[in-house]
Subunit: 666 residues, 2 copies
Amino acid sequence: MEKQVTKLRQYMSNEQIKITLPDGTVLEKSSGTTGMDVAEGISSGLAKQSILVEVNGELKDLSYPITQDCTLKILKKDADEALELIRHDCAHVMAEAVQQLYPGTQVTIGPAIDNGFYYDFSRKEAFTLDDLGKIEKKMHEIIDLGFPFERQVWDRSKAIKYFEDIGEIYKSEIIKDLPKEEEISIYRQGEWMDLCRGPHLPTTKHIGKAFKLMKVAGAYWRGDEKNEMLTRVYGTAWRTEKELDTYLNMLQEAEKRDHRKIGKELKIFTFDDEVGAGLPLWLPNGSIIIEELEKLAKETEDKAGYDRVRTPHITKGSLYEKSGHLSHYKDSMFPAMNIDGTEYYLKPMNCPHHHKIFASSPRTYKELPVRLAEYGTCYRYEKSGQLFGLMRVRSMQMNDAHIYCSEEQFKEEFLSVCKMYLKYFEIFGIEKYEMRLSLHDPKKLGDKYVDEPELWIKTEKLVREALQDGKVNFIEFPGEAAFYGPKIDVQVWSAIGREFTLATNQVDFAIPRRFNLSYVDSNDKDQTPLCIHRAPLGTHERFIGFLIEHYAGNFPLWLAPVQMAIIPVSDKFNDYADAVCSKLKSHGIRVKLDNRNEKMGAKIRNAELSKIPIMIILGKKEMNDNSISIRRRFIGDQGSMDIDQFIEETVNEIYTREKSKVDLDA
Amino acid sequence: MEKQVTKLRQYMSNEQIKITLPDGTVLEKSSGTTGMDVAEGISSGLAKQSILVEVNGELKDLSYPITQDCTLKILKKDADEALELIRHDCAHVMAEAVQQLYPGTQVTIGPAIDNGFYYDFSRKEAFTLDDLGKIEKKMHEIIDLGFPFERQVWDRSKAIKYFEDIGEIYKSEIIKDLPKEEEISIYRQGEWMDLCRGPHLPTTKHIGKAFKLMKVAGAYWRGDEKNEMLTRVYGTAWRTEKELDTYLNMLQEAEKRDHRKIGKELKIFTFDDEVGAGLPLWLPNGSIIIEELEKLAKETEDKAGYDRVRTPHITKGSLYEKSGHLSHYKDSMFPAMNIDGTEYYLKPMNCPHHHKIFASSPRTYKELPVRLAEYGTCYRYEKSGQLFGLMRVRSMQMNDAHIYCSEEQFKEEFLSVCKMYLKYFEIFGIEKYEMRLSLHDPKKLGDKYVDEPELWIKTEKLVREALQDGKVNFIEFPGEAAFYGPKIDVQVWSAIGREFTLATNQVDFAIPRRFNLSYVDSNDKDQTPLCIHRAPLGTHERFIGFLIEHYAGNFPLWLAPVQMAIIPVSDKFNDYADAVCSKLKSHGIRVKLDNRNEKMGAKIRNAELSKIPIMIILGKKEMNDNSISIRRRFIGDQGSMDIDQFIEETVNEIYTREKSKVDLDA
């Protein structure tokens, strides 16, 4: 630490600057003062805990010399920003460890990512799991040495030459490609150094012990298949060992709840090589879940005044030229089929078809809003390496709808959609979610965003006001809007805390005009409607994938493919079991009669493995009393009961989609 | 007539032959005797009415000289066979009329078809409607002349030369292409003659007056686009003028009920040039009908023990090679899409996907029958000229299912499907239908049919027995089976008597083996299941097209897109109307509130034009009494009623899918 402080003194001069702290305190300091100096000036306790500063809103190293008047915020390890730093620092330390252990390995890039970090190395052989253990050990050693992360600004050509001389050709290539105006900064820890924008923690010791190397994967240099295949090492890193443990437990739990594993065990879906990758076949159990979800969506949409439509899965290319899909989205579309000299495409989205239905008859303001809903199946091309269970597929059944409304109606309509999300979250027991309002970036108008600066500002204002009026919490994300307007992306967290992107609610002020959509307003003038694109339940594929993890396959009664197993104690009670079975079925209950010639225990175990919510046990007592005995998953034996009363209660539980009897942490 | 009789005498000899009549009577006649001779021998009345004979089961001219012992049946004009003769004779007479009126026109072919006949002519200009009137007049003149149809057998080369000499190059081409062993027979009426196999009526006069030329169309010679475009004249012909009138009335009614016209008026579906030909967009009203039909199908299939599945719309080509679609059905498939070097196709049928689901887990005899149902949307290529409203489309939503069963289960399963048809017919008020059992042709084994002679015989026997056991009426059609097994095609007639091919029920004893489908039987041996392909409601497209005509758009309450129009007498009653509307909606009734500022009469007319089954009129009296006044389509005013009683009755009518209150002839 002494060494670092000495070095930094060189930036200091006698010129005085004003530093404003978050509480309004203004400090007068010499130019070249660092965040660490300020922290030490306040208290040695604070200095010890500090890791980073925000100077005029920009994150900087604690050792960054401040040379102008500024606002200053000192960040400690508990700040949100600390996590990214810890992860990024881990990547540097891992790269040093690898180069110490495996000389000749070249470094390329190593960013912080969600939950951790990675580094891509160029090396003839891939790392083994054994290697990961060694690297991890070496990392702990480097961290213990507590070298400061030291920032140096290098001359570009000196930097290129340096990295070429030591055989780091990827690094020199990166430097060559950096914009001319960009400073070439090098971070050094002890003898090891890397090209890096920073910022970093004060020393390696600040990283702590809460990290773990997770896995090795292949990755092409710059993501291009034509380039060399590099070896990527993934790690996870956290502030505390407790956080790390929580994360590792969550992963372990996620593995147990893996939708591919449970999907197979519960016969929900399957894939078949001869059908094709990314094209799920929904088995009877999965189809029941789909139908229940569609029933919920239809009920909800009926009440909210939606009309349902049905549109074909293929369409002329010219329609996608008009909609802009062929110019903006072609890489995600399947190739064309030439029919009678015309190109047809599988639809990647339903919007152009719905626009056509809106346009199929003249509209007046009295009909608005027109809300067209469809569980349309769309097809999108994903690279085969990107496909992943139900989470990344090529065919997707979307809970889609398009709402055409006037500007006056917009806020209410938009807010209703957001509230529909909240209603669904309640039904599915989703307690943690986040609404992200994605806005345009004025610098990218005409390129990434339709070039309508005023419409952007106006529409974003409308959306913001709608959310505020409706008291819906949201976070703003500039530069993340859709091409044609602002949108809400909804993130949800499953019961075990994994994050999923599920739903979307988008405003479109551009495409309706391209499609010449119009309505006659109350003054007999033609107007272009606004269009809201919404898909609150996302796709069946991803949503059911999420639900499988969320419920660990223990679906609530209304969603469970088999709701009850009927288990006669012996074959003497098969007739009674048949009668009970028929009676339950006649009330629309999904029952499975297990009258196999097996022992009770085996039948019960089988029903448990199938995660069937209710078992109905039938023996002599039940037959004589004309009753049934109930055993409920997570709750246990509930004793015997009158069948009619049971049916009434159960039908009510199904009808109200009750969620209370499911243990999400089971 | 005298002339004909004289000519025929030349065939007679003194040799005696035995002719057995249908009642068993045996007549001894000279060889060369004709059917007409026999008829005259029985009674002059019979001779007058006779038109045709069946000699040893083969239809022959009445003037055909009988030279061997035979069975003989004399047919009169009321025989089923007469209609085809009348139509075929009309074609000959029309060709003569055309050649008299428009010299230089060449004849090609002119068969009898359903309801009538056509003839294809080679002529520079197409005929106009005016021309049809002239041709029809000339035909009546030719018929009045009463020339006998006289059969002559010609030498092949003489026939070719004759037709070439008179400039009939199509006729000479046809003769050249006839199989070597076939006799070249020429039929002559007066001076005009045509190549023809016969048989024909005795004279042109026998045709009568009950015919009408209908329309002109283009048709390629031999149906090949590369050949000359010919002019086809269509006519209709019947036994009696009453039959003709009935048919013409039916056509007129069919035109009024044209599903394209009503589909547009009632906003059921639309087509859009930018989406593509043959790809219907289902508007909200059509989507309601679709959902009601699916609900019916699902309820029916749930009760019958079906499981529903969902499969993607695209699949690898290799799957269709295995199933045989690519070798037998490629012309009806859309072209391939190349994805990552593999060809994918839009599915033309759901069977390969269902086979894959059957194969997705090991099966035992205890699970059988497995019944997999899906409303899968299939895509088939039809030439654009063949597309016709909803009747011939390129995208079709099929009420599909595949039943996998053992041989022992087969009869019961097959019959259950047939009975399911009958249940549907009852629901939709389809009173006339026909089950056609299509059988294989042993001559085409290995070509049109899988080469399994014994399996064919065995399976056809099973199907026949199933139908007989179930007392289901059917007609056998040899040579019409599917590639992989026998099938039932179901023809239905709409309320106005038009015939539609809707549904199919097929046995498949070949493809399950190709897919290695198997189950373990009770002796622990692997067995291949039989597969039944069935689609009792056909496709939504064709079935709804049929229903629109059948009901003339007057759907029964359960199917009507809008079930009730609520019409307040003036805006003073809008609040009451709102309350009534909400109450009805809360019972799932599809209501439309017409609170526009319009006159009562206009509102009622509007509801009538929209064919809404029930109007609810609300005025002072109703508001004061807390009642509603009902006006029912086809039934009229029903007076005022308590709303709760009305809801109970109506919900019951919807729930039971009552059909009695619809007037099919309206």
